[in-house]
């Protein structure tokens, strides 16, 4: 019997660390599923409440937990789902955590619309799959440089021509003397569900989905 085994009748929900965590916890409370503080969950990582198990994982790991069935449901940014498509169901736009995936270049750069792009564009990003797919759909040859952080720095030191990154307010871009030339997509937090959980424990999982959906509409 493995530790990640889901408990009969109990619905497990994966919640991401970071920017989406406060919104996710507020939503769980509003839906009447679990009342938890960030400190509490951050300390324990796994909290059991009547009928619900909440687990705290890194944002990029939420789809893995859900697709593998270690969590029935997951709260995750659309940006992560673009990057890691899987066999999960994307059920509800939860509304919070709004931000945009943008193509940004240094303020002084000559690059602007597609007509100004060189034959081969070099782009740094934490979202290599999303970036590559977007340029491919536009017939633009691109060399994607996958980075893990401080992507804003890459064009300033001449590593790349542009970056693809997530921005909520645009402040970080401005501070790093970058400007947006295109928007790849708009992201918000989403509710995803494991395909087998919906089939094998339909009642419990659908009930939780229903309560979360209502809490969003409120």
């Amino acid at each position: 019997v493995t530790a990640h085994k889901t408990l009969a009748g109990k619905v497990s929900i994966a919640v991401p660390t970071g920017a989406l965590m406060p919104g996710a916890l507020r939503l769980l409370a509003r839906a009447g599923l679990a009342r938890l503080t960030g400190e509490e969950l951050g300390r324990q990582l796994l909290v059991d409440r009547s009928g619900v198990r909440v687990i705290l994982v890194r944002p990029a790991d939420v789809p893995a937990y859900v697709d593998h069935g270690a969590a029935d449901l997951g709260i995750v940014g659309k940006d992560i789902l673009w990057e890691t498509p899987g066999a999960h169901y994307e059920l509800v736009d939860l509304g919070f955590g709004a931000c945009q995936m943008v193509l940004a270049v240094p303020i002084a750069s000559r690059l602007n619309g597609p007509e100004t792009w060189p034959p081969q564009l070099r782009v740094a990003t934490k979202y290599p799959r999303t970036a590559a797919a977007w340029f491919e759909a536009r017939g633009q040859a691109v060399e994607v440089v996958p980075l893990h952080g401080s992507v804003e720095l890459a064009p300033q030191v001449g590593l790349v021509d542009a970056i693809v990154d997530l921005t909520a307010t645009g402040r970080t871009l401005k501070e790093n003397r970058l400007r947006v030339t295109a928007t790849l997509g708009a992201s918000t937090a989403r509710l995803i569900a494991n395909q087998a959980s919906l089939k094998t424990r339909t009642d419990a999982v659908q009930a939780a989905v229903g309560r979360l959906r209502e809490a969003v509409a409120k």
Binding site: V1, T2, K5, T6, P63, A64, V66, D67, H68, G69, A70, K78, T84, P85, G86, A87, H88, Y89, E90, L91, V92, D93, R190, A193, N194, Q195, A196, S197, L198, K199, T200, T202, Q206
Partner: protein
């Protein structure tokens, strides 16, 4: 194991094609390692078995290969068992194949399993009937097969005409249940294709009850599968604590025609790796098959030991003969390590010291030992 890519392309989608291990032979023809086994079966039926009368019932078991590493460190070589019923249309054939798949899951020893049955035509009927511009329709198709209901909702929101079909599409993940779901859906659809699909589902459900599978079968009108491939009844098998279907199947009446022998067909595949994962996770993980007899020998007993081992195997028992001589005390240590039910120590041509678990040692001639073991007499 190996097929020409041009042959495989007749039967599989672009996504599966991408995952094939491909290479070129000496003449530069691109060939691939099998990624699934339904297409090879279709080729067999239309080729080597061309002269055989339909219907044909064929099965396979073996590895398939995929370049996809997956996110769970999946093995690239996985094992599949499957069966295809070619040349039989109708719900009796559909139910036969579903029942066989269910019995396979049962025989594998999983403690709990369920089979969800749906119908590809239910979806096609809705897509025909729903009033949408063509470009929105294709976007709806993409969103639905990606299981992206947020995108689906926003696509349908923009259209002025709201119909029962709209509602059904949005409720796809929740269209699951028993026969009551057929009535609920029947009240909402207003198109021939979907109505016929619901009628067929009702028939299949009744047949599966007659097969003795009423407890494990549910209906899932929102089953999302490769709708370009499947033409009728579709189904999926699930087990406890596995996030993916362990068995999948359905009717694919269009495939055989692409190989030049048009025929209705239905079949299924069981993912053995997932079955194994379920078994090893369960409270009673599967044990290796028990060895019936450990045959040890000393002195001149080797020949008698080899004869005894062969005789026992003829009677269907698992017997292992030691590779080296041991005295009686050493042979007991070896016996425990082997984990066999009986220790048969051949001391010479005519004497065997026979020890069974929980019993004291007896000395008997080898023929008597073989006779008693084969006859099930301790």
């Amino acid at each position: 194991m190996v097929e020409g890519v041009d042959v495989l392309e007749l039967g599989i989608g672009a996504d599966q094609r991408r995952r094939l291990f491909k290479f070129a032979d000496a003449r530069g023809e691109v060939i691939a390692l099998v990624g699934e086994r339904t297409v090879p079966v279709a080729r067999l039926v239309a080729g080597k078995l061309r002269g055989s009368a339909l219907p044909l019932r064929l099965c396979y078991a073996g590895p398939v290969l995929s370049t996809d590493e997956g996110r769970f460190h999946q093995r690239r070589e996985t094992y599949q068992v499957g069966a295809e019923l070619v040349g039989a249309p109708g719900t009796v054939a559909d139910a036969e194949v579903i029942a066989l798949a269910a019995r396979c899951l049962q025989a594998s020893g999983v403690q709990r399993y369920q089979v969800d049955v749906g119908h590809a035509e239910f979806f096609h009927g809705i897509m025909d009937a729903v009033k949408l511009p063509d470009e929105v329709k294709s976007a709806v198709r993409v969103a639905l097969t990606a299981r992206d209901f947020v995108a689906l909702e926003s696509l349908l929101e923009k259209t002025p005409l709201r119909s029962a079909e709209h509602e059904l599409l949005l409720r796809f993940p929740a269209l699951r249940g028993g026969s009551e779901i057929l009535q609920a859906a029947g009240g909402l659809v207003r198109n021939r294709r979907s109505e016929r699909a619901l009628a067929e589902l009702a028939e299949v459900l009744q047949l599966l009850v007659a097969h003795g599978l009423g407890d494990v079968v549910s209906l899932d009108l929102g089953a999302i599968r490769d709708f370009d491939y499947y033409t009728g009844i579709i189904f999926e098998g699930y087990g406890p604590d596995i996030g993916r279907p362990v068995a999948q199947g359905g009717r694919y009446d269009a495939l055989l025609a692409r190989f030049g022998r048009p025929a209705p067909a239905t079949g299924f595949v069981v993912q053995l790796d997932l079955v194994w994962e379920m078994l090893t996770r369960s409270a009673r993980p599967p044990a290796l098959p028990r060895i019936d007899a450990a045959v040890a020998w000393s002195g001149s007993g080797l020949k008698a030991g080899l004869r005894l081992g062969s005789t026992l195997r003829l009677f269907g028992m698992r017997a292992v003969v030691d590779t080296q001589a041991r005295d009686q005390a050493e042979s007991k240590t070896w016996w425990r390590a082997v984990g066999a039910v009986n220790l048969l120590h051949c001391m010479n041509d005519s004497t065997v010291a026979w020890t069974a678990v929980g019993q004291r040692t007896r000395r008997l001639p080898p023929e008597q030992v073989a006779g008693r073991l084969a006859g099930g007499i301790a």
